[in-house]
Symmetry: C4
Subunit: 194 residues, 4 copies
């Protein structure tokens, strides 16, 4: 399969999933006063920002992976499909966190479900990268180190969620920020070493 059409489909799923996140921010019930209602649903805004940043980072990393790969064989396409299946479901746990943090019960379970989804996504991504590495499909030396972070951070956050959901959400947000900052640090180091 040509890389371009696999990219087009993947980019489509990433773009739609990211844009559907807006549905986790509901228009408040018109029978109440808008001001307090908008303030009360702050978890929706936080969940939107964290999930959008996360999908953005997955997309950037996905792009880096596909770019470094020679060609996509069938198993890789299926593993890519598995990644997309876990990405497309992100609006669901985002809605869970947004809604249950607002109403103020079962926050731990909502944060746990969020972490479970992200752990599944990190696992699917690791499977895709590991397969490509094992089959020597990478054209450039490709470090799986960066990807291991998600593979550690998300399950860790998932377990933490059961005891302290705020800390778990901070771990999820920090993981997205880490993936944003990591390449900047790498580039700076490369520029300095030259």
């Amino acid at each position: 399969m040509s890389k371009s059409r696999a990219e087009a489909f993947s980019d489509g799923v990433f773009a739609v999933a990211a844009t559907l996140l807006v549905f986790s921010i509901p228009v408040p019930d018109v029978h109440a006063s808008l001001g307090p209602a908008l303030v009360a649903q702050w978890p929706s805004y936080a969940a939107y920002v964290i999930s959008f940043m996360t999908i953005l980072v997955i997309w950037l990393n996905h792009h880096a992976t596909i770019d470094a790969i020679r060609s996509l064989d069938r198993p890789l396409l299926l593993l890519n499909g598995l990644v997309l299946m876990t990405v497309a479901v992100i609006p669901f746990p985002t809605g869970l966190v947004a809604r249950y943090l607002e109403v103020g019960h079962d926050q731990a379970l909502a944060a746990f479900a969020y972490g479970l989804t992200m752990s599944g996504m990190a696992l699917a991504f690791t499977l895709m990268n590991s397969y490509a590495k094992a089959r020597h499909l990478f054209t450039t030396p490709f470090s799986l180190l960066g990807f291991s972070t998600g593979m550690l951070a998300y399950p860790l956050g998932t377990v933490i969620a059961l005891f302290n959901y705020q800390l778990a959400l901070a771990v999820y947000a920090a993981t997205a920020v880490f993936y944003m900052v990591l390449p900047l640090l790498r580039e700076r180091r490369m520029r300095q070493s030259r």
Copy 2:
């Protein structure tokens, strides 16, 4: 019509339909306890996974068809539109199965409607392939054998649904898995025969 723009539109419909499947997984009513509610809606997760795999497989097969075709004439574009019309509606029977398996009545009818949609999709796909074959639009010898499986499996599952909805859903899931595994087996055989 250039193949590229027909592909772009088709890929868009596939990607959006796959991503909209997430709406078959509702955020549970906040007046109940989240844990039991998340467990009770397991059919949503199953329906999401089966339908996502199915759309992924249709997309892969669609790609293989378009790749093997010289150019798209008007009738083929319309038949392609028919395929897309049956793909874009998949979130509806997915929601039916998810919801009626959870509430525990009319499961057979929901599974029947699911199978009917998939049979319609398989029929549209077969029409598109048969037309392209009849008009000699395929550049490479193109076996319709693989596609016949869906043309048999989905109507069969649809009939089974009326008697045993669990078995019908297993048939739908197995059909998606079959289409994932088939090319892997083919590739292995081709590699061995070389």
Copy 3:
């Protein structure tokens, strides 16, 4: 602006609007029996099919227009945006027709709103084509004749809707079918005349 990115954005809007039509087919209320409910909402299926065919035809015609145009200047991009604005709103009148035909009141008004939307779309499309023609942006002789059909049929259907909504819906469906068949007839005549 490069044609390719204007096409990508337009194709995106077409694909998303077509796929969002599925939301005009609701999962029936689980407190009732599914069989009668699925039968009762037949207007949803009809509305889905008519609107999907219509968007498909607009996309095909849009493609033909963009293909025949040398380049897109600013006014053309804005007129294209106007076309897209009327296409993206189609799920709304589709939902109106689906819902009000099912409940059995205000069908005429729903069909009127549907026709008004389509008339707006036909007008926007005619403006885009007329501007391109006036500015000599077409590279090939481009007949506006085919496009005039919609410019006549939709306002006609809109007026008919006030007296006979079934006939109006038949006009909308027939217009989509006409645009599907017209190029086939043209191609046949061209093949015969050669």
Copy 4:
């Protein structure tokens, strides 16, 4: 990163966000009469048109920016992601304005939230452009003047919203129209000066 895939993802988000705006126009409650209900929800249509025009204009300006840029480095991709995050959220304030103008209370707050979102978008866009300018990533002399308008108009509209929400909405609509007309005026002047 290749510009083409960043464009594909961005175009996807723009197209989906624009098309999701249709959900701010609800199918009226079937228990009431359709005619008055359709008239009463005129703010939905107005909000749809203003937001669609705005997203169209952001997309056109985004395109102009990316076209003028040599290549996208990591920080620029992240700033681009920030722009997309503010674009993808536009359906939310659009729904707020549509709903609260219809019910007739908290209109000022809804218009304030709308302006705040647009100010955030203008800020993100300005950051992206300023970064590209500072890093000399523009291949052609690129005036930030046009973009400053949004940076002034949206915060101004946001403040006005607290005193006169109709005027604020007029400012938002006028800003979109300004960005549509500005390049037309520029082109005319360039054509006259030649």
